[in-house]
Symmetry: C2
Subunit: 200 residues, 2 copies
């Protein structure tokens, strides 16, 4: 099997959520897996000088409308949560815990955490809420909570985020196909053609 | 015939160029015309605090790659010009001159000016180069040059740009379909569905 598609995302990113619902299917059509890489956009914004979409003049109000419309366009359930955005250390660390323990459960957990936030409005920034979600998928709640507070897991999230910035990642979702970078849920059509043709 | 699709763009915007090559066909399928509205993104960036894509950390290098790849994806000829970006008062004012004199020539002139810059690398920020382009399409060169320097035409460009900012326009291309805003050449699929369905 060829190199997996690398999928960088923040759990508080609506476009990350939209793309997450489709990336496995797109990659799978071409015999590829997905490497799920949650990062913290807050650290990225310190480098780019940007900020969360709702905070940006003119772009903020448009973005809210565009998120909702893009979800309808793709037929994906979506409700802008409140609070939005939130810090996403807890769910991101949970994924790096699974990376070390049950990597085969990562995708289901990513999608469940995203749905919890962007469909059910649950505040996944809370370690307890994140642990509840994992428990509802049959994972061990107290081990999850311990992992979220564990220095090695914290360090793993920090180093993946730092490495993402070094590779030029400035938003979410940010996808690499054999080293070629694609930013945004609206690049999935180009991602697909790249996978099919090996470049264009 | 229903209300035309409003197409706001800056002549120095690669994604504006890409969308300009397709918007008439998309609108025409649903019996709509296109209202071409060149604006000055520089004035917009003063409000948003943003800047031209190549100047942005991390986003700059990605954007150059994405512009070229998006052009190949769409099958549109494209070569990133040097200098880039340029100020676009001259070509924008030329379009508002045509608005008053030969509106039926606007579309051909927009596309010719865009091609001159993004395919042939001609510096359309120069009034002489813009006037040459219009002359090559059979328009009067000296009248074009005079119009580019005319206070009423300058004021028209300023007022369309100000009005665009009031309407929330923060980038190029920025398209309104019956009041619904769409930002970016990658929203043409949503524009098309909106035209077909009257919303979704």
């Amino acid at each position: 099997m060829s190199q997996p598609v690398e999928f960088y995302f923040d759990f508080s990113s609506p476009y990350g959520y939209l793309a997450a619902t489709r990336i496995s299917q797109v990659a799978g059509k071409y015999g590829r897996g997905v490497e799920w890489k949650p990062i913290l956009l807050g650290a990225v914004f310190k480098v780019t000088g940007s900020g969360p979409l709702p905070s940006l003049p003119l772009k903020g109000p448009y973005s809210k409308r565009d998120m909702e419309r893009s979800a309808r366009f793709l037929g994906v359930p979506f409700k802008l949560p409140d609070p939005f955005p939130v810090s996403t250390q807890a769910p991101a660390r949970a994924i790096y815990w699974l990376e070390q323990t049950k990597p085969e459960r990562i995708e289901a957990c990513v999608l469940a955490l995203y749905r919890a936030y962007f469909v059910d409005g649950r505040n996944i920034s809370s370690p307890d809420v994140t642990a509840d979600m994992l428990a509802s998928l049959g994972l061990d709640r107290s081990n999850a909570l311990a992992a979220i507070a564990e220095p090695a897991i914290k360090e793993r999230l920090r180093s993946v985020t730092d490495n993402a910035i070094e590779r030029g990642v400035f938003g979410s979702p940010y996808i690499f196909v054999d080293g070629e970078p694609f930013w945004g849920s609206d690049r999935l059509d180009q991602v697909e053609r790249w996978l099919r043709s090996g470049g264009f």
